[in-house]
Amino acid sequence: MSSNFTASNIGRLVWSEIKPALLATFWICLLAFPLMTLSINPTNQTYSFSMARIPYLAGGTFALSIIWRFFLKRRSFQVITKAVHQSEGLPEDLTKGPKPTWLTVVMGSKYRRQGLIVLLALMVVLPFISNPYSVNVLITCLIYVTLGLGLNVVVGVSGLLNLGYIAFYAIGAYTYALLNHYFGLSFWICLPLGGLTATLMGLLLGFPVIRLSGDYLAIVTLSFGEITRLVLNNLNITNGPRGISYIKPPGFFGLDLNGAPKDFLVNYLGVDPGMDVFKVFIYFIILALVILTIVCVFRLENSRLGRAWLAMREDEVACQAMGINRTRAKLTAFALGSTWAGLAGVVFASQITFINPASFSFLGSILILSIVVLGGMGSIPGVILGAIVITALPEQLRFFSQYRMLLFGALMVLMMVFRPEGLIKSTRVVHMHTLKNGNGNKTKLEALTGAPPERASSPPAASQSPGQANSQANGQANGLANGLAKPPQGPTGESS
């Protein structure tokens, strides 16, 4: 074996890595040659030639190419290892349950509750230890978390590709802006109204697209998004492209938070929040909305309705054959997904205080979709992380100023190439079986109710104790925790 490590062998090995990188470098330089070396003087339509940028390009490409090849090799090696292990039946022990991920470890540990409280406390304290700009980024980020989770219901859970999601965001924002502008309605009245309007528009869009699926659905939703934007741009009532300004921020029980309370804080309490009070207030509103959204989406996903959506995503024919009304499932998915966009839109309008149709372009839909896919389709923590990356990363990249969007685009490609399932892969909730079955042992249910469970013909007796029902229901919430414990094994005969 040691003979393999002769100088010439190592040289050959290194060369085999460097050669393709050199080729790639040459190719990219060739590609970039005219666009990067020729510059046009627009006044007299002459051109000048300069090779100054080429060495940087070549160096960068060479380094990137080496790294790219290394990671691609690693990726394919991992795939092969996995396949070999599988074919040899190595770790595929089906009784072991899904492999614990860090999420199940954290969420499943007995410190889960404490962990969540710490996180929540951190989120509550955050605006007070940061500057106004960061609070604004945080608000934007949380708005996009809401949007991402809402779109996740449509795309990630139900499998309906929606490219016009920004329209519902716009509808929410304009609902508040218009009602506030013309009728002086307050934020708190408009918040549910904005959500409701978006829901209704979602239904309206849902009806014509019931028969469509896949990319046809995508293009119709895209059209819907564009139609909404164009109509907002052309109507007089929305003030067209000039938009609506001076939208009121939310008040606190009728108290105007713009100005006065800050003076109060500074003068009487000696605390200087260092920023506008209403911004902090909006932060807490959107934080509450995000928490509400997470709870709702989690509950939906693990309910009868959510499973219908999942079934629809997985197989449209089989889902109908299982008794699921596909039309209804599609419509609820569309309508509910839109609701959150509407709510987020209202908050957005109150945060930015000026909206015009330019804020709701197709690019917005694309960004929200990127959040869902980048984060991990159908995964709630994934979508949250995705929203952080998509909204906060470009802010961080401001350091690179004009190269910002270039890097952002490149990162999206790299992310998909090396982690196509998203940052956090969606995992299914684990249910633990509480029955000790088979060998004449009483089931937990029997033990509690004293009656043998009837099966097959009718559902178990409704006289079940509420405690049991609770523990089962909690089984869902605690499912992650239970997933760590081995499910008790019943006899696995071919048939009973």
Binding site: V389, A392, Q402
Partner: protein, 373 residues
């Protein structure tokens, strides 16, 4: 656990970097620039930035501002209101109190609301009337003349030439559509005898304007007034002339740009535009143009002088006040003192509009904008 680390890393990267970033030693006097540096309207934003850079370079050569060299902190808003608010908050969080910007009217309005009257802001390109008229922004100034001048000038010309049928087209943007609506209102009020045969928005960035040309021909308009920027106008004019349509074209200051003539070539001949009165004739302006040539190898852009003038006026006011934080004092100086700048003497009125800035009507003759007497 590797993923936990990854998660934390991303989280930290996302949020905690900016918290530390604002703590910097103030060895310089800093001025913020907010406007379009990227996106479709980047060229306007860049001409603003170059103007500011010119003024800063000049001031720094003479020892800076308040005894310290001036440093520019720039943020892009791509002329999108949403981004402008973000950029504004970013600049505000750096404790900047002097801002030059923003480029577009819509973005400026949203930025104003984000600054929340905590900075002195001078725009050299936001022309929309209400920005100063509504009185909500006491610390906002602008060196560019306002939009309401332009429709008036255009209408006068139309009446003078005896045109009867008018087509008004706009680019559906906040700037262009406001101008178009304002002209429409002007005509209804002051010249109801004129007939508006076509009032339409045009989608910009399209692959063809031929259908618009067809509509124009069908409407038999004698004059077409464009509300929007030169980039679309030049395409429209080329296609109009290509199809043998001789309708007179009048545009706003968005069209008054040498770029329009370069782009439209022969088709630009005879087109009219309202534009800021020519200020490149003075010695100071000529020196600035020469400086711009050496720095950027091109002619200065539309708003170069207005940005440079704004910056020079601002520097003078700050120098007199002696600090950058007393906004009311700076405001007072800006309104009371007349400062000699590359764009001529600059002083602001009570609303914040520059005094003496005027639009005049130009016509394209032999590849140049020539004032119409």
């Amino acid at each position: 656990m590797k993923t936990v680390v990854k998660f934390l890393a991303i989280f930290a990267l996302a949020f905690f970097l900016p918290f530390g970033a604002s703590a910097q030693a103030q060895e310089t006097t800093r001025i913020g620039y907010g406007g379009a540096l990227l996106g479709d309207l980047a060229s306007y934003g860049l001409s603003n930035l170059y103007g500011l850079e010119f003024a800063v370079a000049q001031a720094n050569a003479k020892g800076g501002l308040l005894g310290k060299p001036i440093e520019i902190v720039q943020e892009d808003d791509s002329c999108i209101p949403d981004n402008a608010a973000k950029a504004a908050l970013k600049l505000a969080s750096e404790n900047l109190t002097l801002i030059l910007g923003h480029t577009c009217s819509g973005a400026t309005r949203s930025a104003l609301s984000a600054y929340n009257n905590k900075v002195i802001m001078i725009s050299s390109s936001a022309t929309e009337i209400s920005l100063t008229d509504d009185g909500a922004s006491p610390y906002f100034f602008r060196t560019t003349p306002r939009d309401d001048e332009q429709p008036r000038l255009q209408l006068n010309y139309i009446k003078q030439k005896g045109f009867k049928k008018i087509a008004i087209l706009h680019d559906k943007g906040d700037y262009g559509s406001a101008l178009a609506l304002s002209l429409q209102a002007n005509i209804k009020e002051q010249a109801p005898e004129l007939e508006i045969v076509l009032f339409e928005g045009v989608t910009t960035g399209e692959v063809s304007y031929e259908d618009v040309v067809s509509m124009l021909r069908n409407s038999q308009a004698e004059v077409m007034v464009w509300g929007g920027y030169h980039s679309d106008a030049s395409k429209l004019v080329i296609q109009m002339r290509d199809k043998g349509l001789e309708t007179v074209v009048i545009g706003p200051d968005g069209l008054y740009d040498q770029q329009f003539i370069t782009m439209a070539g022969a088709a630009a001949e005879g087109a009219l535009a309202t534009g800021q009165a020519d200020i490149s004739g003075t010695d100071a302006a000529k020196a600035a143009i020469a400086d711009h040539h050496t720095r950027h190898q091109e002619e200065p852009g539309t708003y170069f002088f207005y940005a440079a003038g704004a910056a020079q006026a601002l520097f003078a006011a700050v120098e007199k006040v002696g600090n950058t934080t007393d906004l009311d004092a700076i405001k007072k100086r800006l309104q009371e003192d007349t400062v000699e700048t590359v764009m001529g003497p600059v002083r602001f009125d009570a609303k914040g509009d520059v005094i003496g800035a005027k639009f005049i009507l130009y016509e394209v003759k032999d590849g140049k904008f020539v004032p119409v007497n």
